[in-house]
Symmetry: C2
Subunit: 289 residues, 2 copies
């Protein structure tokens, strides 16, 4: 387990939070896990944009200005220290409001209220970062399927029990990641990554309209990298049979970048020129930052 | 907001928990909200049984013996104090394990491990308790529907965002509770209660096979009270049309007991003799404890 070098809660250096915080009680909040590279956070605008979609979805009382204030404090600490690279986790959770008693609308049934308060925590872990394109891994599916939930699809909220159960059920080896199917048996994502397939000149990624997290690295890839590599992005439902008909597979997240996939449950993928074109673009744009 | 008179985390009097606790990070835990009446917790065995179903479902490393130790500490505090009645909230959350770094199976994708640790918090709120049968309320449906999730249906886990969103969307008045439908438009429960309908000699309650919390008071009612009142329990899917054809409606939870329902979205229910028979049984069994 990595110990954070800096842990801030509402701007104060502490690793403690009130047990009644609604993030703890009900998973009532959102988070981002970000890469810190040479003193800056790549794709920060996309992280902020997704956070604000989540904040709006949950009706949290938190503004872009408040976020910028907390991030400025983080960058000030980074500038004053020897920390050049690492991982930053940021949580925005509804505070202690709404713990009403008998008969009231307290507890999980909070109404949106500026009085509920918001707690922001920032954890910074110093680490040596690997390159933006990682060594390949194998994927292993889990029998625990993701439910469809249009209330929360796309955002990175604190209700992640389905992922915990899926990872437990799959028991992945060291060089494996757990691939999740939804209740309609479509491939969705891994516990930690979005997933992509290449077939001909198409890059296919699962539709996340009913479940899954709309990854920041994924968004950047879709909008900036894949068009530059001369490929067409297709977002749609993908079954395991569809996936096995593809030429290559890879997974992405904002901390690790792109990881090629060698196999899903033993079905082998070969690397292909088109994947090389994507990784080449990534290294060119992000590699020297 | 009620302030707890006693707050314990792993047996220590504190209101703070580590920000990296997996209950906070991923909602990785279960909880119970219990009524304390004259120094004892009614239906305690049912609370413990549901907690252990949740602990087993989530693969938490926590035993009945450990639970009994924490409850003994609570009752010792209750005995040494003037606290005779109130509300007790108990959380069992997976501790700080599994926060792995790059490439590992850390984060939300924990594997079951005795090393992950478990944090137990107990919050005790002193309060004047109302009778086991409450004044009637009206129900109001929410446009936010409960997703089907067979991974987690029935247990009282910390992933409660759908309920938060449903309550926000409905904006209930003081004497209203929010009634939730699932994505198939069946009635399931309120944000805080199980729901029952009476039609002839049948007491009908929604099937919770795909979503909802299997309430402790509900279980006791189903197994002990309803048969004694000479009624038949039916657990099945219930649409709004089905519900409106019924004679009476009521809601239950382990803290408040039974609350009659006057109306759902303006459709009126009358109290009926059969509901009186149930409330009579409740008062006879629990009223003098």
């Amino acid at each position: 387990m990595l110990e954070p070098v800096v842990s801030l809660v509402n701007g104060v250096k502490t690793q403690q939070i009130d047990i009644q915080n609604r993030g703890m009680a009900f998973g009532d909040g959102v988070f981002e896990t970000m890469r810190l590279t040479q003193g800056h956070i790549p794709l920060l605008d996309l992280h902020k944009a997704r956070l604000h979609v989540g904040i709006k979805t949950l009706g949290l009382n938190y503004s872009e200005a408040a976020l910028n204030k907390h991030l400025a404090q983080l960058f000030s600490i980074i500038n004053d220290s020897n920390i050049a690279s690492g991982r930053v986790k940021l949580i925005v959770a509804r505070g202690q409001g709404g713990q009403g008693g008998q008969g009231g609308q307290g507890g999980q049934g909070v109404n949106p209220s500026p009085d509920a308060g918001v707690d922001v925590s920032i954890l910074l872990y110093a680490s040596q970062l690997a390159a933006w394109v990682q060594p390949a891994v194998a994927l292993k599916t889990s029998r625990v399927q993701l439910p469809h939930n249009v209330n929360l699809a796309g955002i990175k909220h604190l209700n992640r029990l389905d992922y915990v159960l899926a990872a437990q059920a799959a028991m992945p080896a060291e060089n494996e990641q757990v691939l999740l199917l939804d209740v309609a048996n479509n491939l969705i994502e891994t516990v930690h990554h979005n997933v992509f397939f290449i077939r001909g000149s198409e890059v296919i990624t699962p539709s996340l309209a009913r479940c899954g997290v709309n990854g920041v690295f994924k968004q950047w890839l879709v909008n900036s990298v894949i068009p530059k590599a001369g490929l067409q992005l297709v977002e749609r439902e993908i079954s395991r049979v569809d996936a096995e008909a593809c030429d290559a597979c890879f997974i992405t997240n904002a901390y690790s970048g792109l990881t090629p996939v060698t196999a899903i449950n033993g079905h082998l993928f070969n690397s292909c020129e088109k994947l090389n074109a994507i990784t080449g673009e990534i290294n060119q744009i992000l590699g020297d930052k």
